[in-house]
């Protein structure tokens, strides 16, 4: 491991490493910059939680992420902005084609969202606040001091709830997460990981380090000559003379997902014809786990790097269940992480890899249908909202999940999982169904319905549950960039010193240099 790969925890926002599980209350704010100068000052003094180890757990935490409009509002020059990837720049609701791909159609369509579409141009920052139970109101007041009020306007306060181990349908959540290989103990090489591993290269989550391809994900780089503020940024490890605005940053995907809890349980009870045990079983097949988190497949005897054998609720993969007899292939957790390796099960060693690569390993008919998991992992940091307390009379209150996922590449991670796996009607050879929890239920153009749920049965014919209603509705969503701490200061400084809206220094790097930076950043260092 070289120095450049040593992870700079103190420059990384804490959320990339910790879920703030001990801080049970949270508050998510969407902000608009009303005064660039004041915003710059506030950003420079903001006490942002970092991933560095502390002697004791903090009592509060603040995390900050930006939209492209926010970066512009703070004065980031267009040439730097345009180096961000297309997904982030266009935004989750900025192109109908993207909405179609992500299944944000019909009842999920951006036009119906409460936030994130009509108002998106005005949303500049996402502020995530965390504190101990019962103290979030006070903490929020503390944050919203005079300096804050003159800098920002709160466009939207997203609903959140006291942290609960269960999501609103009643299932235990937050059990499976990738384990980030901060020490770089595992090799990253394109075709090298035969079986599933839960260890994930830091560069898959945080920019500026090697990802699972052993490469650096492209990110905005700034030359010190054209932009003097950039000296506070970390240097670009692959481009001498340039500073790295992306290093230690990550992209944050936020989706407010409303859950129809009563509709969900009503449907499974109807299908089970009132048999409560059967209803419970059906619901667990939708998820792939029982309510208490117990997986439907039995733990594997094989070794899974990054998951301890003692963690019996997570030490499993689907290698021994290719047809979905134990856990339906279409179950939510199987779709969102098929726990696949680079090769189908049983392949190991040079020869069998070669046979498989050339397409002659025909035993694995059913098993080689999904992509390798490691390139499509999500670090989930969501929180639930709108819990209905048993004593309360409200039954039609909106409840759901503020789904948050972090990653270094939105397209390859969140969008891939959502579109190629979750809502795809042909995931792993399945047909006529989409994710039972998340999917919209629109039929294919040729009329084939996709509102089913299939249960494979070792005794023969599959069972088909028809006419699933949609259980989840998207109420708002956005893509954000959560920079490293130095990059936040850099933005703050830039904003403070350019209150009039001019780009710093005026002289702009020529476009040839930009395209050169863009293109070779991920190959650099390799002959």
């Amino acid at each position: 491991m070289n120095d450049q790969q040593t992870v700079e925890f103190d420059d990384i926002q804490a959320l990339a490493r910790f879920a703030h599980g001990h801080l049970q209350d949270s508050c998510f704010l969407l902000l608009s910059v009303i005064d660039r100068h004041a915003a710059g000052r506030w950003l420079q003094r903001a006490n942002i939680a970092t991933a560095g180890q502390k002697a004791e757990l903090p009592d509060t935490a603040v995390q900050i992420a930006f939209t492209p409009a926010g970066l512009t509002a703070l004065g980031l020059p267009e040439q730097t902005l345009m180096q961000f990837p297309e997904d982030y720049l266009t935004g989750i609701s900025g192109d109908e084609s993207r909405s179609r791909r992500l299944g944000d159609v019909d009842h999920n369509a951006p036009a119906l969202w409460q936030w994130g579409h009509h108002d998106w141009h005005a949303v500049h920052l996402l502020l995530l606040l965390y504190s101990h139970r019962g103290s979030i109101g006070r903490f929020r007041e503390e944050i919203a001091d005079k300096g804050f009020d003159s800098a920002f306007h709160v466009c939207h306060t997203l609903p959140t709830d006291t942290l609960s181990p269960h999501e609103p349908f009643g299932f235990k959540d937050g059990i499976s997460q990738p384990r980030i290989d901060w020490q770089h103990t595992q090799r990253t090489d394109v075709h090298a990981r035969e079986a599933y591993s839960n260890l994930l290269a830091p560069g898959e989550i945080v920019l500026g380090y090697d990802n699972e391809y052993g490469q650096l994900t492209p990110r905005p780089l700034v030359s010190t000559t054209s932009d003097t503020h950039s000296v506070i940024l970390p240097p670009a490890v692959d481009h001498p003379g340039y500073q790295d605005m992306g290093r230690n940053g990550t992209y944050l995907v936020l989706r407010q997902l409303q859950q129809d809890v009563s509709g969900f349980w009503k449907y499974v009870h109807e299908q089970a014809r009132g048999n409560a045990t059967l209803a419970e079983e059906l619901a667990s097949q939708f998820v792939g786990r029982q309510r208490d988190g117990k997986p439907l497949v039995i733990p594997t005897v094989r070794n899974i790097p990054g998951i301890s054998r003692k963690q019996t609720d997570n030490h499993f993969d689907y290698d021994d269940d290719p047809y979905g007899f134990q856990c339906p292939v279409g179950a939510h957790i199987r779709r969102s992480n098929p726990r696949s390796g680079d090769f189908p099960p049983g392949v190991s060693g040079f020869w069998s890899r070669l046979v498989s690569t050339l397409g002659f390993n025909r035993q694995a008919e059913q098993q080689d249908l999904v992509a390798s998991s490691r390139f499509h992992r999500l670090l989930r940091r969501g929180r639930t909202y709108g819990a209905i307390h048993p004593q309360s009379a409200e039954t039609d209150k909106e409840q759901g999940l503020q789904f948050i996922s972090l990653g270094a590449n939105i397209t390859r991670q969140f969008e891939f999982v959502q579109s190629a796996w979750s809502i795809s009607s042909s995931f792993a050879g399945t047909r006529e169904e989409r994710d039972p929890l998340l999917g919209h239920r629109r039929a294919l153009d040729n009329g084939t319905r996709t509102d089913n749920f299939m249960q494979a049965d070792a005794a023969g014919a599959q069972r088909k549950l028809p006419s699933l209603p949609a259980f989840v509705t998207v109420r708002g969503a956005g893509y954000f960039f959560m920079p490293g701490l130095r990059a936040v200061r850099y933005l703050g400084k830039m904003a403070e010193q350019n209150p009039d809206g001019a780009t710093p220094n005026g002289d702009e790097p020529d476009s040839a240099v930009i395209s050169e930076i863009n293109s070779s950043s991920s190959v650099a260092g390799r002959p």
């Binding site: 720049l89 192109d95 179609r100 969008e415 891939f416 040729n446 023969g460 069972r463």
Partner: protein
């Protein structure tokens, strides 16, 4: 067996007619990316031997990249391409096309060069602009459009029968279930509602041609062995040398370009893909690429003919075509899933194959020995594909909604009907696939 063949008509667009062409092509769609199968220009649905077809304007968006080689920009006139895959001989299809769509074709070609002065028939115009592929891949050689439709209908029928049977009473004996299903299929066949046309016999001509092609590669290799022993090391040395000197060119696609492409993607379970770019300069590169193409074409014809292209099983059709007097190459495919998952397969499953065939293109990420590197460089690779990609203005599929995996499963279901006997485990497997 009925072999599949491909056609591709390429005609330069007349100057000043580009906009008219765009709107004429757009008129063939119901919405962007969704063709009207009965559109008056080319009513695709009338051709029951046609698997898929597309129309696009091939234009050289990346022509200036070659300046990095200190070579002049190669001139290419934006051209209309009409291409597709059919059952049986190309000639027969083109003859029918020329008759059935003569009026529509005439309006299309009226916007192109050379049509107004063309003397002969529509067919001769088509034939004189037919451009052969260097290599053609077909997911399942011999599977006809008719077979796909019949087998899909069979599966739907069986699935419906099966679910009513299971709902009626708790059938448990799999043999009995199967027997009942077979009987219903027979009844349905007698009424004519269900047909399962047997495979057509292979023509002698096709058989001979294929057999000759099969032995061609071994024979050539054998004859050339003495030469190859000398030439190969030299060629490898030269290859490595030019690989090292290849300039790195990768500019990002504009947001507008990405938008244009994605507008027509992901409307169905399958997507179309077209890329066009220049071949790197030099005779050595060209010879190398020609030999690679010969091998690819050989492998596609004799090895990867039943559902697999190396490890990838989501490609229905693919073809590689030399254009502009071997100076440029065009690649087209039809695949299942989204572009991101297609590229994921390219990188994680068949990077070597992509490198062998595409590393001769200007702007491709740097390779080592024509196999390593290249597609393994994830971001530059994705970027270069996207940048060389061209949207299909119109594209048609005879069987929307069906993936290659579906079709293979339907064929297995049919085999389970026609083959006797099955043991209990096989019957269970068969039932589970329905």
């Amino acid at each position: 067996m009925t072999p599949q063949s491909s056609f591709m008509i390429v005609v330069p667009i007349a100057s000043g007619k580009r906009d008219a062409m765009d709107s004429l092509l757009e008129s063939m769609n119901l919405a962007p990316g969704r063709v009207d199968p009965h559109n008056p220009v080319i009513p695709f649905a009338l051709f029951d031997e046609l698997h898929s077809a597309r129309l696009l304007i091939i234009e050289a968006n990346t022509a200036e990249d070659i300046l990095a080689y200190d070579t002049e920009v190669r001139h290419w006139t934006p051209s209309l391409a009409l291409l597709g895959e059919v059952d049986g001989e190309r000639g027969q299809f083109l003859a029918r096309l020329a008759v059935v769509a003569s009026h529509g074709l005439a309006t299309l070609f009226a916007l192109c060069q050379g049509f107004d002065t063309h003397q002969g028939s529509m067919l001769s115009f088509l034939q004189s602009h037919q451009t052969n592929s260097a290599a053609d891949y077909v997911n399942w050689r011999g599977r006809t459009v008719r077979q796909v439709h019949e087998e899909a209908r069979l599966q739907r029928f069986l699935a419906e029968r099966l679910s009513t049977m299971l709902a009626e009473d708790g059938h448990t004996d799999v043999r009995q279930i199967r027997q009942q299903l077979l009987t219903s299929v027979q009844l349905e066949q007698q009424t004519g509602r269900l047909t399962l046309t047997p495979e057509a016999p292979t023509s002698w001509r096709h058989w001979w041609r294929n057999a000759l092609h099969l032995i061609s590669l071994p024979v050539i290799l054998l004859l050339l062995t003495p030469v190859l022993v000398v030439v190969l090391p030299l060629a490898l040395w030269r290859l490595r040398k030019i690989e090292k000197n290849d300039p790195d060119i990768d500019t990002k696609s504009t947001l507008a370009h990405i938008r244009t492409l994605s507008r027509i993607e992901d409307h169905d379970v399958s997507n179309q893909f077209n890329v066009f770019g220049d071949v790197k300069p030099g005779l050595f590169r060209l010879l190398l690429l020609k030999s690679v193409m010969y091998i690819v074409s050989y492998a596609a014809r004799h090895i990867y003919r039943r559902g697999y292209l190396a490890r990838v099983r989501t490609i229905h059709f693919a073809r590689w075509v030399f254009l502009n007097q071997n100076r440029s190459m065009y690649f087209a495919s039809l695949y299942d899933g989204s572009l991101e998952s297609y590229m994921d397969d390219f990188i994680n499953k068949v990077a070597f194959g992509l490198n062998l065939t595409f590393s001769h293109g200007v702007g491709y990420p740097r390779t080592r020995w024509m196999i390593k590197g290249g597609a393994e460089l994830e971001q530059p690779f994705k970027q270069t594909l996207r940048r060389h990609q061209l949207p299909a203005a119109v594209w048609y599929r005879a069987h929307p909604g069906l993936t290659a995996i579906d079709m293979a499963r339907h064929a297995r279901i049919r085999r389970g009907i026609e083959e006797y006997p099955l043991d209990n485990a096989q019957i269970r497997q068969w039932l589970s696939e329905i």
